[in-house]
Subunit: 147 residues, 2 copies
Amino acid sequence: MKEFLRTKGFKMTPQREMIFRSFFELGEHVSVDELYDKVRSLDHSIGYSTVWRNLKLICKVGLAEEVNLGDGITRYDRVTKIPHGHLFCLTCKKLEEFPVDQLVGVLAETAGERDFTPESFKIEIKGICKDCLNKSEEEIESEEDNV
Amino acid sequence: MKEFLRTKGFKMTPQREMIFRSFFELGEHVSVDELYDKVRSLDHSIGYSTVWRNLKLICKVGLAEEVNLGDGITRYDRVTKIPHGHLFCLTCKKLEEFPVDQLVGVLAETAGERDFTPESFKIEIKGICKDCLNKSEEEIESEEDNV
DNA sequence: TTGAAATTGAAAGTCGATTTCATTTAGAAA
DNA sequence: TTTCTAAATGAAATCGACTTTCAATTTCAA
């Protein structure tokens, strides 16, 4: 990783090492605050802006990309070879993924038909996940009991 | 429109009348600032927060919905019967639309398979539009001329 | 006509994202 | 190894879009 960054003109530091490592350990859809909390638990002296800047750097060197779901929080998603869509639960804010390879093919065609050069695709479904749906049904049942 | 709002418990005012009318005249993907500018040109005394609140109201009564493209600006899109995706040009920020009826069908299936109850679908392609691509090609050509 | 509730405009507040700045550090060059 | 310059850091300030507050005004049902 040190070499990888060096070839792009960046230096390695202990903070950067820790931030990069923590980001990849946390997995998918990491927010600045989540990463900051994790890194802070390892090194209390690390600054918020350092975490933020390094998250941006991870994107700049192509290892992650921003995910924006309209809830005011920017999340960072590791770039993998496999394109995927998001299922975003409006109740518990959980994010699930699903494969979209064939859909992306259709979208690329659509773009091509309009002389549009695509750089990225975003496919999102917002709604209620199974768990939250079950919970709200239980609530309704208990309300009925109270009548 | 006055009656429509009344049935939902809202009152009509001259400002509201003007804001609603202007929103629908502006067409698709309207930002608060765009609408504020337009309304201001008609009535200089109208406040920003009034425009903002009425844009929210238009959403609340189901006539528009928020569109979030990750550039920090919330846009408001008139609700039509026809579902559509967005082509967002990263260079000129222009937003084009394309039909997605069959894609949405596929997505609804996908959600169903995961016991996820969908409320809305978002399909976006970010990239470079035809016009901007032509411009950047021209720039490259003129750079070559300079060699 | 009247009064409660909704609406308005200006200003202040919120909050995540981003920048500033003085200091420290990495690592290439001597 | 030492030196030096650009990069990186941490704290704090700033930005900017969005949202709320509050006193005054207006709507419209009774």
